[in-house]
Each structure stands twice: as structure tokens, then as C-alpha cells.
Subunit: 683 residues, 2 copies
């Protein structure tokens, strides 16, 4: 699932990359002018029934802004941890604007209000916003800044909550207003929260638990020791690492929670120093086992001191009075925390050492992720078989399909539900790369159109994410060609051999070339990291400019696609592990890497035009199918899914390699027959 | 010729990229420990006879440093325009250290002196430095900074000439010393020049001339109008553009000079404002025609006011007192000029609009570059023919070979000599990607080893650069495989179809994949822009991270290679033009690009292993050879070079395409014969 991914400076949606211009080689596109569904100039204004009346909420916020002397207030869509998914109590943008998309920014003044969002969400925004809101069809901070300069008088105050903006985003706003006379004021009291008052959902109170030892790659003490070793070896000798990404703390302590949908994390911060460990969390929510695990070595350098979540700023302030250096990841630390630390006491890198350590899975973590993908493949194969039988009867729609695959995953061992909201899109709906069906307004699957499903599971041993696109009838020539070329891209990148330390960005074009060859392309990124029972989009692995170089032990999705507006959408997504490659030659000390496929589900034979594939691509495909048979076959039998087993055998049959080699074999056979005949004739 | 190229922040040698880690996907390499040729601990110290005694020069500099209160003085290898090649009067590093390599940095204190350079130059530095100098085998500013912190006491003054350092380099030094108590002082009087005194070579006094109209893409007035239009349309409304790159001024005014070897430029700056044009240059050197051309429209907005070269700082200072905004390219503007402009009056982009305009050649400029390459191909074909005949007799060495191809180029119409020092390297010498032979110590070419020549010409209509690698005897299997894979890389990148606005960095791996497949690679960049009778390395086009996205009308070299230490070296370099691609499908408004080969010389058939090539690669090669025949053949005939013409025909014969198609034809023939026989048997 490539739906969300991080562009430089911000957690921004991958599908928005065409607009942001941060996909490989993509320049910003000229935006087409389009009509709004809403007609706010009509009398009375026309609004679709899905619009939310925001007049009261806006009036409340404006009242508070007046008392604070704020002329414009900026409201983002993320939380204090720059999370990709947020909890209900952080859905400030939705409460204020009515817009429920996952990416957007609102700016409110006394007489104006505007929402900025990317093309994935334009239709949704038009359906959800009322006429209080202008819709701005871009997300560039430059554009937001220009709007502010237009509507806020010089000497005006522009304000935001510094704990909801990354360092870079703050800098961009600061830059946009620089020299204009308008001040950018960080206000630690969140004005939307004040307006929201007691209507705001309470924070989660569910249990935070320790992962059983069998599901961890190493103990939290080993992880802490590893990070401290890195601190000692760093040339700048940091005395502490500050963790504000929720995955960082969850991974470090082998703890999980469910504060955020689909991501088993919990609200927390960690300050790991050379001698102490402070975990900022609601202590009462820790399970007894978790509390015990954290307190085993108290007092001492491996004693985790529990502190209130809200105390992180004060603690950090006190800590940085001393002769210390704090190491943090600038890509996801908020400006609110950052500005507490004096400039000379900062060690800034894009990602913290915890993020980097988490990205390279050790042998046990690799085994777990492989195992989770085998069980996940069972669910997906069952789903494909079920679709094949039920779709022709017209009994499945996008929504019931999504429900069915979720259920199939839940039935697998160690399942903890889906890893993101299932994308289940038929026909033209799949051309909206971002599309999730809702009950009641969902398209019926049919043998007359293509169907794309992009789904994944959370298992105690690993997180999965896979996309398959299928057609049960007669695909058009363009559909077949586009599907085959998307598949060729997936294969070309998957079988690439490349030097260690290669940046993903420099090789992701291999996933696009087969499409480029005939003038096709896709507008999103090509892949993202994935966790062990953590996020389905795990930074910093992937193929974008802000991803780190590929290393053995990293997992990434590989997911080229093609989208034909108003007609169909194709995506083929697999998760792959970066492994060392065995090469014919050795050049110096350079080692080479390649990918090992971890997702194990065959592609739709009905959509493959074999004549487009090179012999090498076909051989790769056949070898991949052998791997699928070897790993998923036994698991299907173990689960006594005989019909699915038969389906798998049928769908992983080797393809004929129409290479020169094969043809030569045929020629040889003919020639020997001929020689036999000739000798007979001679006789 | 990829010898020199610019890494982020600095003009740094492309061959040094392995060390700097800015080639695609290259991480910094661990440097091997090696013994110095010098033995400075022996008594008396051992020095090779090539070493220069620098004691007197150092003493002179140290005396001046003492009077200025400078504890450490930093001396770079470049000039005030961040030129890749420099004139003799800017060879400060050579005068001070004895080291004559093109890239390095020296730091001198009262009792220590050290030189930093990259691996290309380690051997040369050991041969040229005396025992006054430590050799530091890296070029990172971090390393220089750490050395300074070690040898300069706290409160010490570290100084440099701000007109010899780019903005980014200054910032890096500033960062490295930040908070250490040591001050970084920009001293506008260059201390080396003071020490050098009247021994310093005088500035060039040769004529600066106008290009004849037939050799320009457009008049300088049209160019100025185009830049002013961009200024008006820019959202930040700059009032002036500051040009400090020598190519910028030369291109803008269609003027040329010969202040710098191989590059037909002259010392100058330009400040182009919305209403005035100031050209800072030694007015007495302008030819009468040049002076007339510049003064045609005086007074008025298209009048070029001539000012003294040395007045640029004072003029810029005066100009920026007003309500102005100065647009400049940060990649190559010096800190000395930059710091004159108040922060709020700067418009900083990586490259000035002149650099960007120069990079996209118009139709006439394209035609001129194509024509220059046809004549250049004639010279190279003549050279290959001559080598074929004379090498077996043992009469050619690297140096005489280089002289011969230079002479062949001089004989071509519009020639103005070589565009860089010819690289002519036989056997193991070619494994040093940077290698130019010198008279007397040059290796004899032989049929027993490979020979690489990387050469280019300056012509009034265009600059050329081409590398061919040949073997007249029996190549080893590895040589043949490596050559073929380098060729496959050249072909794969050359025939790539990609969306417009793709960054070179995201596609350059296509030139490496065939090598990567078997564990081979090369440590330099894959290509660079090239000018119309300007620099052989023209920014900002190319495949590195600081190059701009590819656009139709840009020219770039494509030059993969492979280097086997101590044995042989391979490089295949062509210049290509970015053109629009005709694709089978259209996806939205995205246009696609591809390359058109402009270099027109066949590859060595003796080194190509056809069995490694795909049918598509062979077909591409055959079509390229057809183009060579069509363009170079007639020119050879026109020049009455019949023997070369015959050689060309022989060396551009189509290769057999051993594709499935061909084999199928054979099979069909057999099958029909068989059916005939069978019918006879039946009869």
C-alpha cells in the first residue's frame, strides 16, 4: 500500500507526489481548472448533503483567536509525533473543517477560512466542506504563505501549535512570512483544542503490553546497549537520543498499544541518555508484565524511569541545561521539542539511530516477516479463489470483498487485524489510486472490469502489504499491455543486482522503464519500508529522495502501477527483502545486493501478455512461482485448504520460455527428425 | 571526458567521486593505508627527483601571515570564478606546494603545512611535494577542519581569501570551526599573491573577440531580453542577475577569449539589471568588433557599460544600497561576492537563469553541435585507421598518439584545438581513469593490450568529447565481457525513453546495470553537459544529484566505464542530445524524451561479445551505425578520405540479430522441408 509516504520536509501522501513533484523525476504538474461540486455563489448556495456545517466550530475558534490576538491560525492534519495515521482526539482538522481526508492544512482568519489538500482529496473535500471554506488545490507551503500575506494585514500575528509541525515545516512557514512584517508565533496552547473543549474525545486508555519474547528480534536491553554504543562511537559524542516517533519507542522497548488505527503504537516519548532511560507515557496503562520488564534492572543505567507523557518538554528543558548533546531525527521531530534544545547542544540527523537500527532487520526479525507473509499469502490465495467463484454470480461488491479478505486474515495465526484500511476498487474506481469503498455506495465486482485490491495484515510476527489486480473476463488490449508492463517493472526492479549503499531513488526507474517505453507512467512512489508488527509504512526505507541507502536486512515494498482516468487502475505490489547477491565477478571490496521476494502470491495469468516479456523475465517469474509453491503450498495443506492448494498449483504453472534457447531446442528436434527422415529416404 | 565534474558544494573531480561518495549510490570508501614514495623520516630524508623545494615560498607566506596575525591560511586550487581549469596566475597552490594536480587544498601554519587531495592525485602529490608537506589523502572539509582544530590554538585566527571559496565551501569551514573559539576570517588581500609578488605571472592580455554571427545561437541582445523576461516573470521579482561564471558572460555576449587553457573564456563578471548592463572586463583587450557590438545601442537598456574587472565588488556594493534583489547561482558564486549583498536582497538559486538558458540549445545551436561532431568523427575515424596500421609496427606511444589525434582535429574546419588535455592510455595506465601521457615517459601501444583514448575538440560551432577503447590483438575473456557490458550500459541509457523533467540521477543506473549484473561497477559519474565552443564540462546538465532535470535541447555525455586495477581500463563515451520521444501511447499531458546520439564513431568489433547483447541492443547498434554511415560517410568523401571511408563502411556493417524472429525463420524453413519430405514418404 503506497497510499501515504513522506516527501522531503513532511509526511505527505505518496499519491500526492505528482503534485508535490517529489516522485522520481516528476516536476510539479500544471493543475487543471475544475468546477467545484459546491456552488457557493448560488442563492441559496448549493451544497451536497455530505457537507458539514462548520459555522459554530469556526465561530468558537475565532472567538479564542480574538482573545489571543491571533490574526491567522494554521491547523495541520497530523499529531505531535508526525504520525501517518492519527487518533480521534487528534482529528482537529476534521472537527474544524468537516474534511476527513488524511492530509490537509487549514488556515482560519476572522473572515476567511481555507483548506489546502492534494488531488487525491479534491472531490472528497468538495463533498465535505461547507461554504465557509475555500478549497485550495495544492499543498505547497509557498501557496499557503502567499494566501496568508494576502489576507493578514502587515503587523498581524500568524500562529500555530509548534508541537504539530516538524522542524522543516516550521522553517518553511517562517521563510514564507520572512520580512513581511507578519510574525509567526508558536502558541503552545492549541486553540482548536480549546474550542473543542470537552467534546474532544479522551485519550486512549487501553493497555500497553510487552511483545512476547518469541516475537521480538532482541531484548530491549540489547537494543538500548546497541544505541548507546552508537552514541559513544559518534564523532560528536551525543549524550542522549530523543525519540518522538511512536514507532521508535514501541520498537525500542518491545511494547505495543492501540492508540492509533492500524498501527500498534501508543503515545509516548523517550529520552535515552548515556546513563538513564526516561519513558514518557501514561504509566497506568502499562500491563503488569510491561512494567516488570521495564523495571527489572532498577536502579541502574538499564532502569526505565516512567514519567508522565506531558512532562517531556519540562524534562528536556531541565536536561539540556547541562553539558549535553541531544541526537534527534529532524524528519519527524516537532519544532516544539526542537526549540527547547539550545542550538549548540543539538546533533541533528535526518533519522535517529533507533530509526536506522529498526530499519535493518536481524535474522530473527527477517524469519518472522517471512513467516507472516506465508500465512498472509494463504489468506490472499483464499480470497482470489473465492472471488473467482463468486464474482461471476454478481454477489460481491467492493465493500463486501474488503470485509471478506479482512476476515480471511483474521483467521490466520497471530493475526491482529488489517494493517491499513483495505483498498478494494473495481473498474474506474481503481483509477483513483486512493480509494476505499464504503458500505452502501460500493461498486459490484464483475467479469467485465478489472479489480484492484491493496490490503495488508498485522500479525504478531510481522506486518504485510500486498496489491493484486485481476480480471475474470476479457481484458482490453491496453489493459493487458499496461498490466504486463507494470509486471515487467516489478520484475526488473526485483531482480536488479546493485552495489550496497545504493540510494533507492537511483534505481526506482527500473520499475518504470517498461511503461516509459510506450509513453505510460505512474504518479506515486515505488515503495516503502515495513515493520515487524509495526507500521505498514516504515521509514526510512524506500525509493524516495529522503530514504536512506539500501542495506541487506531491509524490507521494502515494490509497487509500480498504471492508472487510466475514468477507466481502470493497475498496481502490483510485493514486499521484498534486501539480500546479498552472488555475482560472477568481484570488483574490489564492493559487495552487491538484490531483492528476495517475501510476498508469495501469483499474478493474474489472464492479464499477462507473454510476448512482451524477455526470456530473463519469464525465467524470473517461473523461479518466483517455484518459491511460492515451495512455501505457500505446504502451509495450505497444513491448514487443509485443498481447493486453494489446487488453485495455487494451477496458477503457478511455469510459463513457456519462448527464448532463442527454447526455439533452438525445437529447431534441433526438427533437424534430428529431418536427418532421420533423410537417412530413411536415402535407404 | 568525465575527468572533472562538480559534486554538491564544490567543483570536484568526477574521478574523485568514489571517495567523495557523490556518484550514484556510492558510499564513501574506506581508504587503504599506503606507503608514501617520500621517506621524510630517513636521515637525510628521501625525496624523488620530481619534488619541489618549497622552503623559501613557505617562509615568505609565513612571514606575511605573522604580520597579519593569521595562524592558519587555507589555499584552494580554483580561481575567483570557480573555474574547472585555471590560468597560470591563479596557480597559487602549485607555486606554494609544488603540487600541480588540478584539485587540492593546502593549509599552512607557522610550523606545519598539509595538502589534501583525492586518490587520483596521491602518487603525483608524493612525487611533487617535499618534506615540508604532510599529504592528507581525503578532501573532506570535515577532515581539514579537524586538522586545523588540532594545530591551531583556541582563539587562533584561521583565514582565507573569500573570493576563492564558494558560498557552500565557506559555510562548511565555518561550520567545522563553529564554537571552537577559532575565528574564520575572510581576508580580501590574498596572502599567497603577496608572497608571490612580481614573480606571479601577469594576467592574460590576448584579444577578447566576438563570435561571428553564423556561430551564435542568437544575438546577445536577444539573450539579454530573454533573461530580463525571466526576471520579470519570477515571483520574487529580481532587479538584477549577477554572473560570475566565466562561461556565463562569454555565452551571454557571444564573446570568447583564451585566458584559460582549453576553455575559450576570459576573466569577467556581469551585472545585468532590469535597465542596465555592466560588464567587468579589461576593456583594452576587447577587439574593435566586440567593442562596437556591445556599444551599438548606447545609451539605453541594451547598452553594455564596460567597467574594470576589479571594480565588481565596489559596484555591487553600491548597487545593493538600493531597493534591489540580486539573483545569483549559489553553486559557483564566491563567498566574497555573496557577502556584499544584504541577506534580504538576495535571490539564491543553484544556477543563474543564464546557466539554465545556456543549457538548453536552440535549433541553430543544436545544428552547430551536430555539425562539429560530424567533422570530429572524421578526425577520430582517421585516428583509428592510423592506429590500426601503425600500432602493429610498434611505432606509436601514448604521447605521440595524443599528438597525432590533436593534429587530425586541427586539420578540420573551424578547429580551435583540443577541448581538454588528451587522455591516451595503454594497458594498465588506462586503469587510472585520470591519465595523460607526457613526452619521454609514455607507454608504447601494442597489439597485446587495450588502448583507451578520451579526447575532444574545440570548434567555432561546437565542443566535442569522445572516448573509444580498442584492442588490436586477442582480448582476454574478462576484457571482452567488461567492454561489452560497458557498451550495453551506454546503449541502455542512450535508448531509454523517460518523462520530461526527469533528473539524470534517477536514470544513470541504466548505464551501470549490465556491469552490476556480474558484480562490476565504475567509480565516476556517467555524464556531463557540453557547450557550443565553450566548456567541455558544462553545468548544470548531467547525471549527478546537483544536475538539473533533463530537457529537450540539452546535450550530455554518456560514458560508463570499467577499470581493472593494474591491468586495463575501458570507457565508452558519446555525446547525446535530449530529444522528444515518439511513444506508442499518450498518458495525459506528460511528454517523453530520449537521446539522439551526436558522437558518430563505431565501437571496436573485436571487443564486442554479441552473445551478451539482447536483440533490442543489437538492433539499436545497427541503427546507430546506419546513422554514422549516413552522416560521416559523405563528409569523408567530401574530404576525399577514401581509405577512411572504406574503413568506416567495414566497421559499421550491421551485426546479425540472433533474435527469436531469426531463429523462427530457420525453424519454419526446416519445418517446410520436413513437410515436403513427409509428403514424399507418404507418397
Amino acid at each position: 500500500m503506497a497510499r501515504e509516504a513522506m516527501c522531503p520536509l513532511l509526511w505527505i501522501a505518496a499519491w500526492a507526489l505528482l503534485i508535490h513533484g517529489c516522485a522520481a523525476g516528476q516536476a510539479p504538474q500544471v493543475l487543471s481548472t475544475r468546477n467545484d461540486i459546491r456552488d457557493c455563489s448560488a442563492d441559496p448556495p448549493y451544497l451536497p448533503p455530505t457537507a458539514t456545517n462548520t459555522t459554530v466550530h469556526l465561530a468558537m475558534l475565532r472567538g479564542i483567536m480574538r482573545t489571543q490576538g491571533v490574526h491567522a491560525y494554521i491547523v495541520p492534519s497530523t499529531d505531535a509525533h508526525m504520525s501517518e495515521y492519527i487518533s480521534k482526539q487528534d482529528a482537529r482538522l476534521g472537527w474544524l473543517t468537516g474534511f476527513t481526508g488524511s492530509a490537509g492544512t487549514a488556515v482560519v482568519t476572522q473572515d476567511k477560512a481555507a483548506l489546502w489538500t492534494d488531488s487525491r482529496y479534491w472531490t472528497q473535500a468538495e463533498r465535505e466542506l461547507d461554504c465557509n471554506w475555500e478549497l485550495q488545490r495544492t499543498t505547497s507551503i509557498e501557496s499557503i504563505g502567499m494566501w496568508i500575506l494576502k489576507v493578514v494585514p502587515a503587523e498581524g500575528n500568524v500562529s500555530l501549535d509548534p508541537f504539530l509541525f516538524s522542524i522543516d515545516t516550521w522553517n518553511s512557514y517562517s521563510q514564507a512570512l520572512h520580512g513581511s512584517g507578519r510574525a509567526l508565533l508558536p502558541l503552545e496552547t492549541n486553540l482548536v483544542d480549546q474550542a473543542w473543549g470537552d467534546q474532544r474525545p479522551p485519550p486512549s486508555s487501553s493497555e500497553i503490553y510487552s511483545l512476547p519474547a518469541e516475537f521480538t528480534g532482541s531484548s530491549w536491553q540489547e537494543k538500548v546497549a546497541g544505541i548507546r554504543q552508537q552514541m559513544e562511537q559518534h564523532v560528536q559524542r551525543p549524550t542522549a537520543v530523543l525519540l518522538s516517533g511512536l514507532e521508535e519507542t514501541a520498537w525500542l522497548f518491545n511494547l505495543r498499544g492501540d492508540d492509533i488505527p492500524y498501527n500498534p503504537v501508543f503515545y509516548s516519548y523517550t529520552l535515552l541518555t548515556d546513563t538513564t532511560i526516561s519513558l514518557f507515557v501514561d504509566e497506568s496503562r502499562l500491563s503488569a508484565a510491561a512494567r516488570e520488564s521495564l523495571g527489572l534492572s532498577c536502579p541502574g543505567p538499564l532502569c526505565v524511569e516512567l514519567q508522565e507523557y506531558g512532562q517531556v518538554s519540562a524534562h528536556l528543558h531541565r536536561y539540556t541545561q547541562g553539558n549535553v548533546t541531544v541526537w534527534l531525527g529532524t524528519e519527524y521531530t516537532t519544532y516544539g521539542l526542537y526549540r527547547i534544545i539550545p542550538q549548540g547542544k543539538l546533533l541533528e540527523e535526518n533519522y535517529s539511530p533507533v530509526m536506522m537500527a529498526k530499519a535493518v532487520k536481524n535474522a530473527h526479525e527477517q524469519e518472522m516477516l517471512r513467516a507472516a507473509h506465508v500465512r498472509d499469502a494463504v489468506a490472499v490465495v483464499q480470497y482470489l479463489l473465492w472471488l473467482e467463484k463468486t464474482v461471476p454470480q454478481g454477489q460481491v461488491d467492493e465493500f463486501s470483498g474488503a470485509q471478506h479478505i479482512d476476515a480471511l486474515r483474521w483467521a490466520q495465526e497471530h493475526s491482529r487485524g488489517p494493517s491499513f484500511q483495505s483498498i478494494s476498487a473495481s473498474g474506474l474506481n481503481a483509477a483513483l489510486a486512493h480509494y476505499s469503498p464504503s458500505n452502501g455506495s460500493s461498486r459490484t465486482l464483475s467479469t467485465r472490469e478489472m479489480y484492484l485490491f491493496d490490503t495488508g495484515g498485522q500479525y504478531l510476527d510481522g506486518t504485510t502489504d500486498i496489491t493484486r489486480t485481476v480480471h475474470w473476463g476479457e481484458p482490453t488490449p491496453l489493459q493487458k499491455e499496461a498490466y504486463t508492463r507494470v509486471l515487467m517493472g516489478n520484475i526488473d526492479l526485483s531482480r536488479l543486482v546493485f552495489p550496497s549503499n545504493t540510494a533507492g531513488r537511483t534505481v526506482e526507474s527500473f520499475a518504470r522503464r517498461a511503461l516509459w517505453d510506450v509513453g505510460l507512467n505512474y504518479g506515486h512512489g515505488t515503495g516503502h519500508g515495513i515493520g515487524n508488527f509495526l507500521s505498514v509504512h516504515e521509514w526510512p526505507v524506500g525509493f524516495q529522495s529522503n530514504n536512506v541507502p539500501l542495506e541487506a536486512g531491509m524490507f521494502t515494498s515494490i509497487e509500480p502501477g498504471y492508472y487510466q482516468d475514468g477507466e481502470f487502475g493497475i498496481r502490483i505490489e510485493d514486499v521484498a527483502l534486501v539480500v546479498e547477491a552472488q555475482t560472477e565477478h568481484q570488483s574490489g571490496e564492493e559487495t552487491f545486493l538484490t531483492f528476495e521476494m517475501v510476498s508469495l502470491v501469483p499474478y493474474d495469468r489472464n492479464l499477462i501478455d507473454l510476448s512482451l516479456l524477455s526470456p530473463e523475465q519469464i525465467r524470473y517469474l517461473n523461479s518466483y512461482y517455484e518459491t511460492i509453491r515451495a512455501h505457500v503450498g505446504p502451509e495450505l495443506r497444513r491448514q487443509q485448504l485443498e481447493e486453494a492448494y489446487t488453485w495455487l498449483q494451477e496458477n503457478t504453472k511455469p510459463f513457456p520460455v519462448s527464448s532463442a534457447g527454447t526455439t533452438t531446442a525445437g529447431t534441433l528436434a526438427l533437424a534430428s527428425l529431418l536427418s532421420m527422415l533423410l537417412s530413411r529416404l536415402g535407404a
